[in-house]
Symmetry: C2
Subunit: 108 residues, 2 copies
């Protein structure tokens, strides 16, 4: 076995003019990815409407996620939630002063 040890808080890209998605694991029914935002939010128009469930955590930074029923949550470091498939949502804000590091697990 070759042990491939990496760090979620390191290898941050220098260019963060757009969000950076890094795939950590891909299996038959699962994808784990790290996402780095820096003041980004979802496009103003439209919602994420995903065919898979998503468990998402903020590991560093802060963010807000809005849902199409009007709810909005403010996530600080450590906050996590599950977004069931086809639950329309969008990221309305991430803290502008530092990176926000997300961990997302997509599963069927």
């Amino acid at each position: 076995m070759a042990i491939d040890l990496a760090n979620l808080f390191e290898s941050l890209p220098e260019d963060i003019s757009h969000e950076i998605f890094s795939e950590l694991v891909r299996g038959d029914n699962i994808k784990i990815e790290r996402i780095i935002s820096h003041g980004h939010s979802s496009p103003a128009s439209g919602w994420y409407d995903q065919t898979e469930n998503e468990w998402v955590a903020v590991l560093k930074g802060e963010a807000k996620i809005a849902f199409d029923n009007g709810d909005e949550v403010h996530l600080t470091a450590g906050c996590h939630l599950t977004i069931p498939a086809h639950t329309k949502h969008k990221v309305t804000w991430t803290i502008p002063d530092t990176e926000t590091i997300w961990l997302a697990v997509h599963y069927t």
Copy 2:
């Protein structure tokens, strides 16, 4: 949708005389759990020999994982790795002075 927002770094148990496993997500092919150790290691005898793949990250604290081929890795906060099914391993050490908070994703 009822939004169930929790925090990985909060709701730490007062009694950490043994490791604490908290299931965060259970799906058909996936389980996500938080594990809190405090100076614990695996039992001296035997290895974990799991039927599922495991992606594991240390979010806080430090730990060492040994493999039956003799390799050992030292994980600090943010370190993550994938342990394929039936890769025998054990936790040989976690830092004694503070909690080690793990995130584990088991998947087929």
